[in-house]
Symmetry: C2
Subunit: 346 residues, 2 copies
C-alpha cells in the first residue's frame, strides 16, 4: 500500500531536503551542503555521486532556509517610478544584466509615483532582507533608507540625488542635457523654442529647463517659453502642443523641446493631426531616446540618457557597497548625448 503511494508521482509529497539527499547518497548533510556551496572542498568521486543523487531525487534547495541560516538574501530590490515608461524598464534591464553576472536576482517594483506603493515595496524588501536596494525615491523615504542601511542593506539612489550626502547615486547631468537640446535647436536655425513638461517641482525638469534657458540667454534673438504640464506622458504632450497651436501665428514656436520622449510623441501627434509639418514648420526634440523615439512616424531627435549604463553603474556602486559597507559615498553623473534624427533636421 505505502509502496503504491510512494510510486504515485501525482502525490504532492513533502519536498526533498538535504537530509534525504544525504541518506540516499550515504553521506552526511554537511557533505551535501559542501557539494552545493563549495564543490572544491569535496572529493571528485563524492561530488559526482552526490550531484547524481541530487538530480535523481529532483532536490531543489529551499532558499528560505538558506537565507535564514546564512543571514542574507542574495536578491536585490529595486523601486522605479513607472514600469510603463520604457526609460525605467531599460534602466532595470541594465541592472538585471549586471546582477545576473553575479548570480543575483532582481525584485522589481514600480511605485507609479505613489508614495504609498513605494512604501509597500520598502516594507516587502525589509521583510525579505534584500542585500541591496536601488531606488528612485518619490516620497520622504530618507529615514527608511537610513534604517535599511543600519540593518545592513546597501542603498543606491538612481536618477535622482538625495540632497544629503548619505547615499551613493547615479544620475545624468540634466542641466547639460538642457544645454545640449537648446544648442542643437538654435544651431538648426530655430529661434522660438517651447519647453513642454513638468511638473516644475521635479529636479530633472528644473535642471533641463535651466540648461536650456542659459543657452537661450547667450543667444540674442532667441526665446524660450515654458509650458508646464502635470504629468510627463503623451497626453501631456498633446495638450501642451494644442495650447501652442492656439497661439497667434507670430508667437508660435518653431521648435519644441519635450521633457521626455513620451511627451514628444504626444506633441508629434498633435502637430501631425493639425497639419503642421515636422520638422519644416516646427522641430521636435525629445529626451531619453527610448526605442519608440526612433520608431516614431517622423523619427524623433532626442537627448539620449545612457539608460542601461545607469543601471549597470548603479549596480556596480551597489555591489561595492555590499562588499564594503564603509565604502565611500559617490555621486556619479553621466553625460547625456544628442541623437539627431528627422524631427529636427529639415
Amino acid at each position: 500500500m505505502s509502496t503504491i503511494a510512494n510510486a504515485r508521482s501525482g502525490e504532492q509529497g513533502r519536498s526533498v531536503s538535504v537530509k534525504d539527499v544525504a541518506s540516499a547518497a550515504g553521506v552526511s548533510v554537511g557533505t551535501v551542503s559542501n557539494v552545493l556551496n563549495r564543490p572544491d572542498k569535496v572529493s571528485p568521486a563524492t561530488l559526482a555521486h552526490v550531484q547524481q543523487v541530487i538530480g535523481d531525487l529532483g532536490f531543489i534547495r529551499n532558499d528560505a532556509a538558506r537565507q535564514l541560516r546564512a543571514g542574507t538574501n542574495r536578491a536585490v530590490g529595486m523601486v522605479v517610478l513607472d514600469v510603463r515608461n520604457p526609460f525605467f524598464t531599460d534602466v532595470a534591464r541594465g541592472v538585471e544584466l549586471r546582477l545576473g553576472e553575479h548570480g543575483r536576482p532582481l525584485i522589481l517594483g514600480s511605485s507609479g509615483q505613489d508614495a504609498g506603493r513605494e512604501s509597500t515595496y520598502l516594507d516587502l524588501f525589509e521583510e525579505q532582507r534584500v542585500s541591496g536596494l536601488l531606488i528612485s525615491p518619490v516620497g520622504k523615504v530618507l529615514p527608511r533608507l537610513r534604517r535599511l542601511r543600519e540593518r545592513g542593506t546597501a542603498v543606491v539612489v538612481v536618477d535622482r540625488r538625495t540632497g544629503s550626502r548619505e547615499f551613493s547615486s547615479v544620475a545624468v547631468d540634466d542641466v547639460r542635457g538642457g544645454r545640449i537640446a537648446a544648442t542643437h535647436l538654435i544651431e538648426a536655425g530655430r529661434r522660438r523654442i517651447a519647453f513642454i513638461g513638468g511638473p516644475q517641482g521635479l529636479t530633472q525638469i528644473k535642471h533641463r529647463l535651466r540648461g536650456a534657458e542659459a543657452v537661450v540667454a547667450e543667444h540674442p534673438g532667441t526665446v524660450l517659453r515654458f509650458v508646464e504640464t502635470g504629468t510627463m506622458d503623451a497626453d501631456a504632450g498633446r495638450r501642451g502642443a494644442e495650447s501652442l497651436l492656439a497661439l497667434p501665428a507670430r508667437e508660435r514656436p518653431d521648435a519644441i523641446f519635450a521633457a521626455n520622449d513620451l511627451v514628444a510623441l504626444g506633441v508629434l501627434q498633435a502637430l501631425t493631426l493639425a497639419g503642421v509639418r515636422v520638422p519644416d514648420d516646427v522641430a521636435i526634440l525629445g529626451y531619453d531616446d527610448i526605442d519608440f523615439a526612433a520608431s516614431a512616424a517622423i523619427p524623433l531627435s532626442s537627448v539620449r540618457q545612457p539608460r542601461e549604463e545607469m543601471g549597470s553603474v548603479a549596480t556596480d556602486l551597489l555591489l561595492g557597497a555590499m562588499e564594503d559597507p564603509a565604502a565611500q559615498v559617490r555621486d556619479i553623473v553621466l553625460e547625456p548625448e544628442l541623437v539627431v534624427r528627422r524631427s529636427t533636421t529639415g
Copy 2:
C-alpha cells in the same frame, strides 16, 4: 562602554527578533507571533502594548524564517516574454493589482524569448518556493511545470495554450482577432491586404492569419498576402513595409494588418517616410492596442487585447488553484475588440 556602543545608532547591530520584542514587552514569543498573525486572539491591552514595543524597537519580521516555518512563500512568480513590450507590462500590472488586493507580492521576470533565461527564472522560483506561477512559456518547460505543481506550486499559463489539458490558461481568441481585423479592413473598402508578422511558428500568428484568411476567402475580390518576419518589433514592421513598397504599384496592398502594434508603428514610419499617405493610400491596423498605438502620429486602429483583464483573470485562476489544488483546469478565452482610430478611416 557597552552603553555607549548601544547608544550609537550608526551601529550595524543584529536585527531585532520576536524574542527581543517579547522580552521587552514582558510577554512570550507566542504572544508576539499572535499579535503579528492573529491580532483578534490577543487581548486589546496586550495587543496595543506589544504593537507599541514593535514600533519602538523597529522590529521587522524576517520573512525567510516565516516562510521556512510556515512552509509557504506568499509571493507569486511570473515569467513574461518581454518586459520591453508594453503589452506584457500591462498584463503584469493587472496581475500585480489583483495580487495586491490579497497582500501578495509579485516577482516578475522577463525571458526575452530566451529559453535559458526562462529556465533561470524557474530555478529561482523553485528555490523560493513561490506559491504560484504565471508563465508565457518559451522553451519546453512542461516537465518543469509538472514538477512545480507536484511540489505544490499552482501554475497558470498566460497568453498561450499548452496543448495538454494539464494547466489552466488565459488567452485571447486570436482567430477571432484575425477575423475582426480583416472584416474591418474590407468593410472600410480595402481589397488588397497584407499581413506582416511572424515567425509563423507562433500559434498566435498562425491563428490571427487563419482568421484573416477565412474572412478574405468569404469576400471575392479581396486578397491577403503574408509577409513573414523573424521578430515582432518596429524594425520588423519597417522592413516588411519596405518590401511591400518595392512591389509594382498594381500589386501593392491598400491595407496592412500588423501582427502587433510594435510592428504597426514600424510600418507607419516606413510608409510616412516614403511619402505614402495613411490611411488614404494604405490603411494600417495594429494588434494589442498598447498605449503607444493611440499616441502614434497617425493614431493607430488596433485589435485590442484586454491586457489588464488577462492579468487579473489569470490571477483569479491562480488564487483558486492555490486554495484548492484539485480545482478544475480551465482554459479561459477572452474576446478581442476592435478599436477604430485614424489609421484605418480615410
